[in-house]
Subunit: 326 residues, 2 copies
Amino acid sequence: MIKAGILGYGNLGRGVEAAIARNEDMTLAAVYTRRDPGNLKINTPGVPVKSAEALEGGEEDIDVLIICGGSATDLPAMTPKYAALYNVVDSFDTHANIPQHFANVDTAAAAAGRLGLISCGWDPGMFSLNRLYAASVLPGGEAYTFWGRGVSQGHSDAIRRIEGVVDARQYTVPVPDAVARVRAGENPELTTREKHTRECYVVAAEGADKARIEQEIKTMPNYFSDYDTTVTFITAEEMKEKHSGLPHGGSVIYTGETGQKGMKHVIEYSLKLDSNPEFTGSVLAAYARAVVRLNAEGRTGGVTVFDIAPAYLSPLSGEELRAHCL
Amino acid sequence: MIKAGILGYGNLGRGVEAAIARNEDMTLAAVYTRRDPGNLKINTPGVPVKSAEALEGGEEDIDVLIICGGSATDLPAMTPKYAALYNVVDSFDTHANIPQHFANVDTAAAAAGRLGLISCGWDPGMFSLNRLYAASVLPGGEAYTFWGRGVSQGHSDAIRRIEGVVDARQYTVPVPDAVARVRAGENPELTTREKHTRECYVVAAEGADKARIEQEIKTMPNYFSDYDTTVTFITAEEMKEKHSGLPHGGSVIYTGETGQKGMKHVIEYSLKLDSNPEFTGSVLAAYARAVVRLNAEGRTGGVTVFDIAPAYLSPLSGEELRAHCL
């Protein structure tokens, strides 16, 4: 049995917890929190909730710690810190800072004889794998990534910070025509605006100036100003009824050529997810298994999904995999 | 530069040759043939064509031998034989015999300090990887594999063996309704007949009994009797004009659930290929790179695509991959 700890019990931490429950060779040893453990009730009966401070001495009886924090400030500090004490897995997704984060985790884990996997999930994660496999098989081709239709929590949060907004949900939506052109092998050059639209559902405070809110959303730099954005005001009841889930998904579409005649090939990987955090948590759980096994074989330092042979993710033996999956 | 040899110069051998030409870190060292090398003209200028006998002493200056033979009789003998002399890659696809073939290659390669990769291509190969990744992330789900629309060379050959048939091309076609039900997460139980149909285009000899030919095709056991099969007689000119390519493709669709509420997720990997042998050859070339690198690190014995970390397939460094693909 692989004993896993979860640090952080937000949407992602609960997603990992749910995933561990469906993996028969894994058990949830403890949930660690920076909040008051006495106030935190988790879904798994009989599993202790502890203060994050309990992790400090490196003496917790866990094979791997799955760190479920935010990429902005939590993970850059937490993952290197705990990689010096435990095998760790995180879902760091601030692209520009991956080299620095990787270096920090690699140094800490290598010195401690531990293994630290960063940037795991579906993007970065499963989508990254598919970009790499496709580019390796068809060198010189073009990779397109489309996200959605799905809820972007970062964009939803950005809308909620606007004055007069009570609640908000933002869906990222791929432009169907762009997807169709890529699938057809046209290899189009697409601007940000041509690839995705943004649909916003907003509950406004009573008496709030809706025209101003809509204008503030549509002109918000980085988040919305480069996109065709629609804003729909709804009631709190409608928000609860129709927009309480966290669905997501998307596609990596890679087109490339072979041979002297330029034969065309299209490789497409797509996800349609009812729950973004539960799927992401499931990816983290499978990779936690791989990290424990690889470290047991003596592998240490920092790694990404690129460095892990697929067989390590599965509880099945090599014989079973060759017989049933190959 | 990775020096690759190709053994066997049929459709697949030419596909590997075309792939090597598009990989800047690989060079084609020689093509080996069991036919008379003097009669074989290959597409790459300046590359020697040699008798397969030249491989016997293990002294050819190649880093890896890509064996492009048939699974029925060629590969079971050839891959273990040459795995005792060189690093090898094959595309063995007789599913039931994979365990025995793997054992033979593993034993030969391990004893010689070489690495032998079997069953590489797209199915087995890229499709297998996607079945494994999906099943590892969503345990307890269901994998569906659909092939086509594409030319099955085995089925085309089977038709050509019927008396009165001059030429034939058979397309395997997924049933759209079955694909739609799987994509919708219905988890249907599907019979062979419900998953695929078979379209046959046949050039009959002058005066041949077309009704008898059609009957023989539709009742042929294993190949056609379990499928809804259509037979269309065409002229030799039409065959050449419309059916001279070898397109193929298909999808692996995996559906699974997470959490206590049973959130549904659909993972789909699909290929749309203008040329089956050129794409398969491209997969073999990328894995040949991985085999050379892994053997240089000391890895020996038998492996499949499951055992190879994705980063080994790419000519890019770990830093480059983390910066551009992750």
